[in-house]
Amino acid sequence: MVFMSPVSRGFHRRRQDSAENAGRVPPGQYVTKDFPVLSAGPTPHTPLDGWSFSVGRPGRQKTWSWAEFRDLPSEDVTVDIHCVTKWTKLDTAWQGVSVDTLLDLAGHDGPFAMAHCDGGYTTNLPVEDLTGGKAWVAYAYDGQPLEPEHGGPARLLVPHLYFWKSAKWVRSLELMDTDDPGFWENYGYHIYGDPWREQRYAGD
């Protein structure tokens, strides 16, 4: 039986998506021009000389310093991002290192990854969602160094999944055999988080 939503008496649409946005806004989302910030705790401020990035299994990781990381080949990408709190932002411009590049250097050593971040945040992703030109570790937004409140010095960028998967202040990708839940996934958010299937919460 299909559940039919009741019409909300007196409710009328106010937002109109322009024709050029057609097909770009997932169900239940609305377009914003702002860049809202959502984080569970205070914004960490990690000095660049103490920053590093690691990829791999615990104990056998490839690690880059900030300078080494910035010397890796980077890409400029313009993508739409979708936050589980309902906002979608179109045409966001980032610069960063493709996760393909990182895994090619560190070794493809497992089917799942846990992103670990300053502040203790974690999120889990299948490696196949991090490869094939679908994910980056981004350090610039709109041509400027990424601000701390938006995840700087560097954040994961996985635009085809809800934005909580694009972990701020990311410091490592730990490769794993199983798809263990990360921070929000442990609090009832969806293990995968596809906005086009509206996978906001466990069971969606």
Binding site: P6, S8, F11, Y30, V37, G41, P42, T85, G188, G203
Partner: protein, 247 residues
């Protein structure tokens, strides 16, 4: 940061509006009868979904204002360029149906055995989940000491004002009015920053637990100041209302 037990699937359900109470000129509290409510924790939120006659759907998240065990109440601030909040504050009335699902979120929550002392920092409508925490504390007979610092633009913008004027034993309520103060105002009259928190916040040495909720700029400034004064970051829980995040 261990998670709470996973709940089952969050299904949409139709609640009935019992009453709509005026809090301020732009804020209403919507009291709901949710027939299959599984219960909630203080600090959680719900998703609501509006549907128009052309099947256009708008979804937003709102914090729960009531304590666990009380009927679900949502406090909503009207944002004039919003699509959902003006409907909830101006159009919705007792007897209407409202589709929702929840509760959602398990990190920005407080239970009596989480202890304290508690420092609650609210900017504007960021008071809503903190009010749920205050009511939960009182209803459970908790004696955890609480300081609430609540930043509003003017006295008329203070939500739950009469309730906050009569705090429970062990709860100190401190207001700051950032835009306009009435004659004879004895509270603070400036933005929340490190200097103000040095006067109001529990010292870090007392091992306080802090909940900070409000607009992004408020949360960034307040949480940063707490960390710099020695609060461990994992003892500072935040919830930010981004630019249009709550419309």
């Amino acid at each position: 940061m261990a998670g709470t037990a996973l709940r089952g699937r969050l299904t949409w359900q139709v609640a009935q509006v019992l009453a709509v109470a005026v809090e301020t000129a732009s804020v209403r509290t919507i009291m709901l009868d949710v027939p299959n409510w599984p219960g909630h924790q203080a600090g959680q939120h719900v998703d609501i979904r509006l549907t128009d006659e052309d099947n256009y759907v708008a979804e937003r998240s709102y914090s729960i204002a009531s304590a666990p065990g009380e009927p679900v109440a949502l406090t909503v601030e009207r944002l004039d360029d919003g699509e959902v909040s003006p409907y909830l504050t101006d159009e919705l009335r007792a007897g209407d149906e409202l589709e929702l699902r929840g509760p959602i979120g398990g990190y920005f929550v407080w239970e009596p055995n989480d202890g304290g002392p508690l420092l609650l920092l609210a900017g504007g409508s960021g008071i809503v989940p903190l009010r749920s925490i205050l009511r939960h504390r009182e209803r459970t007979g908790s004696t955890v000491p609480v300081r609430l610092l609540y930043s509003s633009r003017t006295l008329d913008d203070v939500i739950y004002r009469s309730e906050l004027d009569k705090p429970a034993v062990g709860v100190e309520v401190v207001h700051t009015l950032t835009r306009h103060q009435p004659p004879g105002w004895s509270g603070y009259a400036r933005r929340v920053d490190a200097a103000l928190l040095a006067e109001v916040a529990w010292p870090a040495s007392t091992m306080p637990l802090a909940y900070v909720c409000g607009p992004t700029s408020f949360v960034e400034a307040a949480s940063q100041a707490l960390v710099q004064s020695g609060y461990p970051p994992q003892r500072v829980k935040t919830e930010r209302f981004g630019g249009t995040g709550g419309t």
